[in-house]
Structures are given as structure tokens and as C-alpha cells.
């Protein structure tokens, strides 16, 4: 049993590294999505979804790195706070845009001028 715990303790920094790295990659994917996707709602989707998962993975990595301490407890609280507020904020933004009458863009995306792609009235 203690061997098993020992192995877990050795593995901990590696798991933390994987979580941090994948969190960073997911945030990067979200950023590229915000730049590349065609309309407001898809961009919001990229930002909201990846931000929640990415930051939570980063926080998970940090918790694993700091071990069972007060710091990791605070990080877990930050994670809980983000888990609640981040989707709510995304919802509020999407709701406001819908209320303001912004229609999502439907149909297939044709190749277009770059000025047109970013020119929605958000």
C-alpha cells in the first residue's frame, strides 16, 4: 500500500505537467478559435468552452504540484468559482447578443475577404 502511495507521489509532478501543458494548449486552441471562427456565436463558443476547460486543467496541475496544502485548497476554491462564473458569463454575453437581435450565421462558409469575416455588428 505504501509502495502504491510512493509511486503516486513520484508520478504527481508528471501528471501535473501533463495537466498544465494540455490546459495551455486548450487555451491556445480557444484563442485561435476566437480569431478564426466566422461569427459571434461560434467565437463565443470557442472562448467560453475552451477557457473553462483550459483554466481548470491549469488549476488542476497547480493543485497537484502544490500537494495537500492550504494553497491547493485556495486553488480549488478558485477553480470552483471559475466553474460557476465562466459559463454564466458566457451565457450572459450570448443572451445579450441574442436579445439585441444578432442572428447566428447559418449555412456553409464560403471563402471570403478577411474584412468581411470580422465585420459582424457585435
Amino acid at each position: 500500500m505504501s509502495d502504491f502511495l510512493h509511486i503516486l507521489d513520484i508520478l504527481r509532478p508528471y501528471v501535473a505537467g501533463i495537466a498544465l501543458l494540455s490546459g495551455g494548449v486548450i487555451v491556445l486552441i480557444g484563442a485561435s478559435g476566437v480569431l478564426r471562427l466566422p461569427d459571434f456565436y461560434t467565437r463565443l463558443h470557442a472562448a467560453g468552452v475552451t477557457d473553462t476547460l483550459g483554466t481548470l486543467l491549469v488549476l488542476l496541475g497547480l493543485i497537484l504540484l502544490s500537494g495537500f496544502t492550504l494553497l491547493s485548497g485556495k486553488l480549488a476554491l478558485v477553480g470552483l468559482f471559475l466553474l460557476l462564473t465562466s459559463p454564466a458569463a458566457t451565457h450572459a454575453v450570448a443572451n445579450a447578443a441574442h436579445k439585441a437581435g444578432l442572428k447566428p450565421r447559418l449555412g456553409t462558409v464560403k471563402s471570403q475577404a478577411p474584412g468581411e469575416a470580422s465585420g459582424d455588428p457585435s
Binding site: 468559482f81 462564473t85 454564466a88 451565457h91 450572459a92 443572451n95 445579450a96 436579445k99
Partner: protein, 353 residues
């Protein structure tokens, strides 16, 4: 002063440079944009990036204040102000302003010239690192018993300055009141008889259905935010925090309530008369601590006298009361400004956000 010491180029310096270039980019974007909404949001981004930069410089107290003031409450207040005006800046004719260009170039050249005299970043022999900073670090522990040197310097060694700042905040609130009015119950009186009870219930039902996610989340969050404000207030002796940040956090919790449940509900929970009282009361508490010191035979804001056998305990007590005064004034003035802005509108309409 400069010369021997060179700032080492390590990962932190690179991060600092990245943050500074982001600040420059955001600043240029703010100057060039005409959409006021985007400008307000970008100024919040500017504050958040500079807060991150302050963290990287190990100035967590300043970073905390910057995040709470710049990215938090001032963005909300600017949005409130924007509801009273247009969303676009007035179009200006494209022209060359030669005088302005000359002034900017001269000021920039003078600032660049002045940086030559500044010590290198992290120079151990520079004036703040060599004499006065060390002195504060050495004396704070025995003299005040407060582990966070920043709090001790702010509330005790520089107590006069902080008293001045608190008064400045009260004066700012008074200025807003003079321009925009007190945000009293005038609107409520106008609105109340026009609506029957059924219509009101119907409307609130629609509102509830519409914002149900936000209502649930904010109901969960507002108590936690206020508790966090109290933690920041009373933990300010040990870590970053204090009256200014705590006041902003508590004010923003109430502003969040007002945004989701409507201004009238917020005014019922925290009446404007209470807020007006609080703004003056905070300064009174701060000044009162000083006057008590005077009456006990000490100097103004000399907290040692509060506990003659244990001067350090007196310091702790004085710092705590003074910070409570700061908290009350800051939170109240923020709410005065918010009420002042929003009371000019009938209500915050759904489509406005």
C-alpha cells in the same frame, strides 16, 4: 547611481517585457477606437494586464488594488456613465494637430531623458533598496506587530496620507452627488402608481425566466463575494488586502445585485440614505481614531497610546479601526457614484446588456 549593476535578463524580465508591450498595444488601440463600449472594455483589459505585471514585479498589494479598481469597479462605473451618453465618440475631422504633436514629442523626450538617471531594475544599491526600504522592513515587525509591511506602512507610518486619500474619495463622491444628484426616490414615486399588481408580477415572472441562470449564479455568489471582502479586510494585516480592496469588493457585490435584480431592489436592500451616511461615517471613524489618540495624550494617529503596556498591540488595534473606516467610506462612495449614474435612467433595461 547607475552603472555597475545590470538587470539580469531572465524569464521574469522577458515576462515583464511582454506585459509592457501588451500595455502599449492596448493603449494604442484605446486611442484609435471610436466605439466607447470597446474603449471601456479595453481600459479594463489595460488594468488587468498591468495588475498581472505588478504580480510579476512582486507588488501583490498594488496588483490587487489595480485589479479591483481598474478592472473591476471603474469598468462598471464607466458603463453606468455610458448609459447616460452615446456609445460612439463624436466624429472628429482628420487633421494634423501640430501643436499637440510637438507637446507630446517634447514630453516624451523629457521622460526618456529622465529614465537615464533612474537606477537599474533590481539594483541593490538604489535609494529605495538601500536605506528607507530596509529600515521599514526592519522596524515594522517589532513596532507594529503586523506581518504585512505594506499594510503597516499604509495605515501607520503613512497614516496621514491614507487619511488624506480617504477624504479624497469622500470628496469625489460629493462631487458626483453635486453633479448627478443623490439618486433619491424620485423615480420610484413616478413609477409606482402606473403599474397594477398583476402587471408587476407578470413582468417579474418574465424577468425571472429570462435571467434564471444569472439569478441562480448571483444568488450563490453574492454572499461568497461579501465574505471574501470581509476576509480581505481582516486578513490585510497578514497578506495583501485592506480597506480599499475590501470596500471595492463589497460594493461590487451590491452592484452585481443591482444589475441582476434591478436598481430598486438594491436600493431597498442598501438604501441610498445609509450609503450617504456611510461615506461620511468612514472618514469620521478614521479621524476619530486620531482624535482618541489626541485625547489619550499622544499625537494624531499615534496608535501606540491605545495600549500603553503593549505599543505593538495598540498599533494593531489602530490599524484595524482605521482600515474599517477606509472600508466603509470606499464601499459607500462607490455605491453613491453607482446610484448617481443609474438613477438618471428609468432602470437598467434588458437590452442594454
Amino acid at each position: 547611481m547607475n552603472g555597475e549593476f545590470l538587470t539580469p535578463i531572465d524569464a521574469f524580465t522577458v515576462i515583464d517585457l511582454i506585459f509592457m508591450s501588451m500595455l502599449v498595444v492596448v493603449g494604442i488601440a484605446i486611442v484609435r477606437l471610436k466605439d466607447l463600449f470597446a474603449v471601456v472594455m479595453l481600459s479594463g483589459v489595460y488594468s488587468l494586464v498591468s495588475a498581472a505585471w505588478f504580480v510579476s514585479l512582486d507588488a501583490v498589494d498594488v496588483a490587487f488594488t489595480e485589479a479591483a479598481v481598474g478592472a473591476g469597479i471603474s469598468t462598471v462605473l464607466m458603463l453606468g456613465a455610458m448609459l447616460l451618453t452615446a456609445r460612439q465618440a463624436a466624429p472628429t475631422k482628420p487633421a494634423r494637430h501640430w501643436v499637440a504633436l510637438i507637446v507630446v514629442c517634447a514630453t516624451g523626450a523629457a521622460l526618456l531623458y529622465a529614465t537615464v538617471d533612474m537606477p537599474s531594475f533590481g539594483d541593490p544599491l538604489s535609494a529605495p533598496n538601500a536605506y528607507i526600504g530596509l529600515e521599514y522592513l526592519k522596524r515594522t515587525g517589532p513596532e507594529t506587530g503586523v506581518p504585512n509591511v505594506v499594510s503597516a506602512v499604509l495605515a501607520s507610518y503613512r497614516g496621514y496620507d491614507t487619511f488624506g486619500e480617504t477624504t479624497v474619495i469622500l470628496t469625489a463622491g460629493l462631487g458626483v452627488v453635486l453633479i448627478l444628484g443623490l439618486g433619491g426616490p424620485a423615480i420610484k414615486r413616478k413609477k409606482a402608481p402606473a403599474k397594477t399588481k398583476a402587471a408587476k408580477a407578470n413582468q417579474s415572472k418574465i424577468l425571472g425566466a429570462h435571467h434564471v441562470v444569472l439569478r441562480v449564479i448571483s444568488k450563490l455568489m453574492i454572499p461568497v463575494i461579501i465574505i471574501y471582502g470581509a476576509y480581505v479586510q481582516f486578513h490585510g494585516d497578514f497578506g495583501p488586502g485592506g480597506g480599499f480592496q475590501a470596500g471595492l469588493i463589497i460594493a461590487s457585490a451590491i452592484i452585481l445585485y443591482a444589475l441582476i435584480y434591478g436598481i430598486d431592489a438594491a436600493k431597498e436592500a442598501v438604501p441610498p440614505s445609509l450609503v450617504r451616511l456611510g461615506a461620511a461615517l468612514g472618514v469620521l471613524i478614521y479621524g476619530g481614531v486620531g482624535v482618541i489618540n489626541l485625547l489619550l495624550g499622544g499625537n494624531f494617529l499615534e496608535y501606540n497610546i491605545l495600549n500603553p503596556t503593549h505599543p505593538a498591540h495598540g498599533q494593531e488595534l489602530g490599524i484595524m479601526f482605521v482600515e474599517i473606516g477606509v472600508l466603509v467610506t470606499v464601499a459607500s462612495v462607490m455605491l453613491i457614484i453607482f446610484y448617481g449614474f443609474t438613477s438618471r435612467q428609468p432602470d437598467i433595461k434588458d437590452k442594454d446588456w
